[in-house]
Symmetry: C2
Subunit: 605 residues, 2 copies
């Protein structure tokens, strides 16, 4: 640490050097993880020293070697120059010279992912053909080598028809909607894609419309030995074909569908075989099936870290960038699980007016929010350009939504940065439900506790016997909506808590409501005597306050701050009783009883 230390000792050579084709923000974020892993990076980029990655690589370390090669990503010689001195060559963009990479491989250079894999992915039609052959579910698609093919595709799939460029597309570029098959309609769509009518062969394909529910993205990492891991499925919210917000875990999608997304993503990447090494961004469509249910269809794959995986920087133990480096360097793969309850990534786009200052001002203001982390890309300003992103983490969906709502309130954020289209709502952590409005005076005690502890909640009437469908919908959607505990109050043949518990994995607290006939003993026994396998946490008859406290104690498992509030609460109870005890000792029992409005009765002995 002191001056003499660092000058006297030899600096050992770093273990790995990774050459990266492309020096944009993805390369930059890799380069920021690399030194920790004893990895040194080198980049090829057309921007040379001005690219986002150049700003963060160790050109100052004085070994005289250039860490940035300026040149085109399709230039064989530049690719070779990049590979010099590197243990492995990888990429942060798929629009690279596959032929050049293949030559390097023949010369013995370790390229990960391999040129063969990049070749498959680079041509989106070839990608589809490959995955079809490997039994990955896809939306309907067809090659469009000619104008005739466009007409027959329109007949086959109907209009509107999605036309997609086979190569070079990103961020919505390379997609056009064909609305009619008049010569003008076709001309317009082709010109949107920058294509000419007599030059269609190998340039275009069509996708049929699906009954779209939402877009899901899964990041997959695969090692050189074929070990494959998926990060959790995310919901990607797009505006104008540009990803704006990513939410994780994916919202309003049952766990089994989320898992199917992760499995299909892993299967797709694994099907690419040897050379499919590193992180792959897998975009999926969820589509409604005709007969009900949901189809998971592969949209497309990117052979690199991906915008929809940026949340992993702050929400997972090992980010997509670290895992990409681990994979291509042959290090053990890192954990892909969330270490937080929920996370959101918001892309920062260049403000429409006000330039870099306006963009920075609002984003820096967002830094003041708890658990918000800003990632700038060091890129020049342009309205609408992706210039950075903000990651937010939270213990639950509900808290995440509260943070997002707060972020939307930051001046300048709502119009310029976040899509304020109402897709982001707010959701509670605890659901308080009861069989009848007559239970509310009792159940309000639970609500008061939640309010005192600052826990977001919802209150509703759900009757097991009078609204059985609502009971089912409520119970089955609860966990997916972000609830973490349900408090259910019921009286008499009190079935509500047990029925809810049967249809949710959440802890259910049952409050037996006092009844006029049996004083609530009927409610108590109905609620507490649940069969094996389906527990209800039962509290005393009419004691909804304790149900609220139990919900808080449950939430403490993940929230040390809440546990401390609970300890304070217990201390206050103790102090209240101590205060009463002092008063009793001071006043004596007769006077104390009088103060309570009672008269001491003398006993004649």
């Amino acid at each position: 640490m002191s001056e003499s230390d660092s000058s006297k000792l030899p600096t050992e050579p770093l273990k790995f050097r990774v050459g990266c084709v492309g020096g944009g923000q993805l390369g930059r974020m890799m380069a920021l993880e690399a030194p920790r892993l004893n990895i040194d990076m080198k980049f090829l980029d057309g921007g040379g020293g001005a690219c986002p990655s150049a700003q963060v690589v160790g050109g100052a370390s004085g070994d005289g070697e250039a860490r940035i090669v300026k040149g085109a990503l399709y230039d064989d010689d530049k690719l070779r120059e990049l590979s010099k001195g590197c243990d492995v060559v990888t990429m942060e963009i798929e629009h690279v010279g596959v032929g050049g990479l293949a030559k390097l491989e023949k010369e013995g250079v370790n390229v990960q992912p391999s040129s063969r894999v990049i070749g498959i992915i680079q041509d989106k039609y070839a990608q589809k053909e490959y995955f079809l052959e490997h039994n990955i579910p896809l939306p309907p698609y067809v090659n469009l080598p000619s104008i005739d093919a466009i007409h027959s595709a329109a007949k086959q799939f109907g209009l509107p028809l999605m036309l997609k460029g086979r190569k070079g597309a990103y961020d919505g570029r390379g997609n056009a909607v064909l609305k009619d098959t008049t010569p003008e309609g076709i001309s317009k769509a082709l010109s949107d894609l920058g294509l000419k009518e007599d030059d269609l062969d190998g340039a275009l394909y069509a996708e049929g419309w699906i009954n779209f529910h939402c877009e899901v993205a899964v990041m997959v990492v695969r090692s050189t030995t074929g070990e494959t891991r998926a990060y959790p499925a995310t919901t990607a919210i797009q505006t104008d074909s540009i990803c704006r917000v990513v939410l994780v875990p994916a919202r309003n999608i049952p766990a089994n569908i989320r898992h199917r997304c992760e499995e299909i993503a892993m299967k797709a990447i694994d099907s690419l075989g040897d050379g499919a090494t590193g992180v792959f961004g897998v975009e999926l469509f969820l589509a409604h099936k005709d007969g009900g249910g949901m189809d998971v269809l592969l949209n497309e794959v990117a052979p690199r870290p991906h915008n929809t995986g940026h949340y992993t920087q702050d929400a997972c133990a090992v980010s997509q960038f670290e895992n990409h480096l681990r994979a291509v360097c042959g290090l053990p793969l890192g954990d892909t699980n969330l270490i937080v309850g929920a996370s959101a990534m918001i892309n920062v786009l260049g403000a429409p007016t006000g330039g870099i200052e306006a963009t920075m001002k609002s984003v820096n203001a967002a830094m003041a929010m708890p658990r918000s982390v800003v990632h700038w890309y060091g890129k020049g300003y342009r309205p609408g350009r992706k210039m950075g992103h903000i990651n937010i983490t939270a213990d639950s969906h509900g808290e995440l939504d509260a943070s997002l709502a707060k972020l939307l309130g930051v001046e300048g954020i709502s119009e310029d940065v976040l899509p304020s289209d109402g897709k982001i709502g707010s959701s509670p952590l605890v659901g308080v439900i009861m069989g009848s409005q007559s239970d509310l005076p009792t159940m309000q005690d639970a609500v008061n506790v939640l309010r005192d502890f600052g826990i977001p909640y919802e209150v509703d009437i759900v009757s097991a016997h009078r609204t059985p469908e609502k009971l089912m919908t409520y119970s089955k959607s609860a966990a997916g909506r972000g609830l973490q505990v349900i408090i259910a109050g019921a009286g008499g043949a009190a079935h509500l808590p047990g029925m809810v518990a049967a249809m949710t994995p959440l802890p259910v607290v049952g409050v037996p409501i006092k009844t006029s006939t049996l004083n609530g003993q009927d409610s108590l026994l109905s609620i507490v005597q649940m069969p094996r396998g389906v527990p209800v946490a039962t509290v005393a008859i009419g004691n909804a306050m304790n149900a609220g406290l139990l919900a808080v104690r449950s939430l403490c498992a993940s929230r040390p701050d809440l546990r401390e509030k609970m300890e304070d609460y217990q201390l206050k109870m103790k102090e209240t009783v101590d205060g009463m005890s002092e008063k009793l000792l001071e006043q004596g029992s007769d006077k104390f009883l009088e103060g309570m409005g009672n008269k001491s009765k003398s006993v004649n002995v």
Copy 2:
């Protein structure tokens, strides 16, 4: 992202440039956070381009400006050279030229923390005098300007006596234990400190022994406007005066003592006043008071990010390095709370034998562990040198300890890297207790559920009426030991669950044991009818299985993986019943009943 993009557009100037005095690992870790924040760094270090920070700053960005100044940290001219073009000058080490910094301040350079603050902290005796004046609790200490002073200090405080160098000390250097006051004894202690008998004035002070319990460290961040935030208190485990492992939240220390540590740390830093900007590492001693209870005493302060705060990189939303940069640049301070349940930092020391290869091999193997993150410093190898660290995060103390135990099992780690001195144990998440051994056959069902779900647990007998002291110790220590749920079974006048709930903030699940006299109705009512304020989650009579399931559901709040296991479990229950239903439909009720070992009885109508 494409080549043409990055070459065409102008790159806007970065918002801040931070000059950092010292280019060791702390500077390097700052530099790895800086680009995200639109901050550009420059370093002064004796090692020049070979220092750990040089490897990660953007010298390649082609603006022709040197990012590394080679020179001594006490050299006024070099400090001035560093400050050129910087918006603010900060430091990653306190052994710097205070006079030079003061000159720069006079010339209008923004130095954070200020030379005045560094001056106070740099001289550990002056630091003590300052904090004493500001009512910060300290161990007893005295200045030692002469040999005579050593003798009188030995009389005043007794032997052994801790002698400490006033300046330039770190990692245990600069401390010596005086065991006797013979001329030889004093000579030895002074030579350990590199001091001569005739040159003591201003070089040495003594600290009296305290009844040491453990060392706690708190990272504090303070903004230019005086806002002060503390990261959670940590336990620092030292071996040979070198920090080896940091555990957070601090272990086996009640919440109120942890908070007192955090408050004293914040008060100390705040007392430094204007210019106390950035992150400060505050080391504290916990000492047993003579009459019982615990004293929190300030040991020393470092005006920079600190080894005991490295865990913040992976366990907090905003790390100490980011918060230091935010503070000195006048950006909003970031969140200092844990985003995980628990975390550990393990320093990686150069292996005693086998050189860099042996050190790297064992540490890279540790990368395979879930939620372990490796941070290398890019430093040359030397046996025992701090070369990096490993951060581990977990949902709870118990899971963290399981990971640490696993880490100790990685080949090469135990001897070379981790102190295997038994200070790190393993602790459970759920405690299963019962009033009597006769309850075990019932309670075992809860244990089986926990085992099936892979949740670490402990089982014990705690009787409210026969072992009331044990009841109290168990309940009060439960949360501190890392338990997250307690399951308590009791029969008859079943007081155990309620009494435990009265003395812990954890959720307590009560299992009413079936009794011979009243079939467990006595147990049920004793357990469920708790007064307002102290909840017990009661399950059906004898149904410990449901208690286990309730504990699992409670833990789901923080663990999505567990929630999915619970959903699978519920699916399996459904399938079992569906299977029975199919069999019944297939066989008819008569045959089915026979299969169950019962005979269908015909009813004579």
